[in-house]
Point group: C2
Chain length 308, copies 2
């Protein structure tokens, strides 16, 4: 069992969806990644920054799920990163109403010494220079570095993004972003071009339409589980990534077949995340529920055609 | 090996896409359904109507692929149904530029006597009253009746559509149409409501995002194969349906597991159809190519997580 370093936001989210609205609740990429990875009982550390306005209950929630918080900087008198968004009726699109960087504006990540030899590093969506700084602090090359990013950095910090992309093993990115990064419409061609930029593995997230994993000539696809009720998509992509790295950290097996399993575990966990606002569903998720839904995934996708 | 009755258009298509344009070429739902079903060497009959302006080469193409044309009416001096469309850059949307019904406006389908006892009936997208007339001509209840339809009939012939839907076993419909027909956004809920309207099986087509099969509590999903080059989506849905019914006619097995295989075969054949304009790819498709791509489908979707 390896160690997992997670860098990303721990945040206040405020969400409106067709199903209701929340106050400021716990959110952030590192939060969702950590909660998902926790399902595999990995030794994980959160590298992040918050203000002292973040309730202790929220920090307790993370540490109670086995996350080491030595790398979580709490700025006295500072305010925590805050995002407010509103989802449209189909839940596939949203408007950002408020973004306040607050303490995140001056974030210098520090990896605790006991985690600088971690086997797996998950770089949640942040400025690419912050992501690069975490890689630079690792005292030996991690076996696996996974990076999540978004179009904002392509528009505003492309050289830095390309630099960090050169140093990673897996990139997770959505379909539109893969097209933007490469200028290629066909995802299979876009994935091929991204592999030339550095990462041997490319994960293209398509939201309710599932996710694709590319590695050389290998392609694997996992659908999103069809759900009767999607309540709040916030955190689904991070939960997917957290399940992916959590499973790989726990199993210490980087074969393509095991990567496929990791994709399924990530998709499975993401299907829970969207059923309630924020972290509500993830924080009390039970092993039996997870296992039962894996059976559904298998029934949904497996067939037995005899091939010649 | 059963018999398969296919009712649908045999048409002139004229297509513009970002990759070029065609003259009037062979198209139509029955054409694509028949070419796909032909891959399973089934005994099929086309029920359709054309004018004598349709080149004999086109009719020969159908009969050379084993389709019985006794039910294909050729109207002397009549003109064949003609559709002209233009695809946008992403190929996911298109504009219809011209629709000329011509002989199709007065189509009274006649099922040849030797096919009125067919085991499988595929009702391609047509006026629901025309579809119903074919069902009425069958002398014994077919083992399987599959219906394809579209939003146009929901807007313009909803009572007739609901009547024919009461009499069928499988409906194929796209995601937006499933939502329109039921007023439900979640596809799992929409599929459940459609099952209450008659068909025990609901196939929801999502184009490049794959297809879902619903039957009671069972759900199966097949992705579309990620392709480097999608040239012309015309006929992909009909090719999918043709592969589905062709495989079921050939195997005479209506278990859910076999339906899953039929969905995979349909998706597999559709992945070829879009690689060239019109019927170009389908008319010379080789068994080895099909088999090779089934291997790709298996690699794309199959995983081996041990479940408790």
């Amino acid at each position: 069992m390896g160690k997992l370093v997670i860098v990303g936001t721990v945040a206040f989210d405020e969400i409106e969806s067709p199903f209701g609205k929340t106050d400021k609740i716990l959110g952030g990429a590192a939060t969702f990644i950590g909660l998902a990875a926790a399902q595999f009982d990995v030794d994980s550390a959160i590298i992040s920054i918050v203000g002292d306005d973040l309730p202790n209950d929220y920090l307790d929630l993370l540490s109670n799920h086995g996350m080491n918080l030595d790398g979580l900087q709490v700025v006295k008198g500072g305010k925590t990163f805050y995002w407010k968004g509103k989802y449209h009726n189909d839940l596939n699109s949203r408007d950002t109403l408020v973004t306040e960087l607050n303490t995140l504006a001056d974030f210098n990540p520090v990896v605790p010494e006991s985690y600088t030899d971690a086997e797996v590093v998950m770089l949640g969506n942040l400025h690419p220079s912050v992501q690069m700084s975490v890689i630079d602090q690792m005292t030996k090359r991690p076996k696996l570095i996974v990076l999540d990013t978004m179009n904002f950095w392509m528009d505003n910090a492309l050289p830095e993004l390309k630099e960090v992309i050169r140093h990673i093993d897996v990139i997770t990115i959505n379909d539109e972003e893969a097209r933007q990064l490469t200028g290629e419409y066909a995802l299979i061609t876009a994935a091929s071009k991204i592999q030339e930029m550095g990462p041997k593995y490319v994960v293209i997230k398509k939201g309710e339409h599932g996710a694709l994993l590319f590695n050389n000539e290998n392609v694997f696809f996992a659908p999103a589980l069809p759900l009767e009720e999607v309540f709040d998509p916030t955190g689904a992509g991070d939960t997917f990534a957290g399940g992916f790295v959590g499973y790989l950290t726990a199993t210490e097996n980087l074969s393509f077949n095991n990567m496929k399993r990791a994709i399924i575990h990530g998709s499975n966990l993401a299907s829970f995340c969207v059923e309630r606002f924020g972290t509500e569903r993830m924080k009390n998720l039970k092993k039996e529920e997870i296992n039962q839904r894996l059976h559904q995934f298998k029934a949904l996708t497996q067939f037995d055609i005899e091939l010649q």
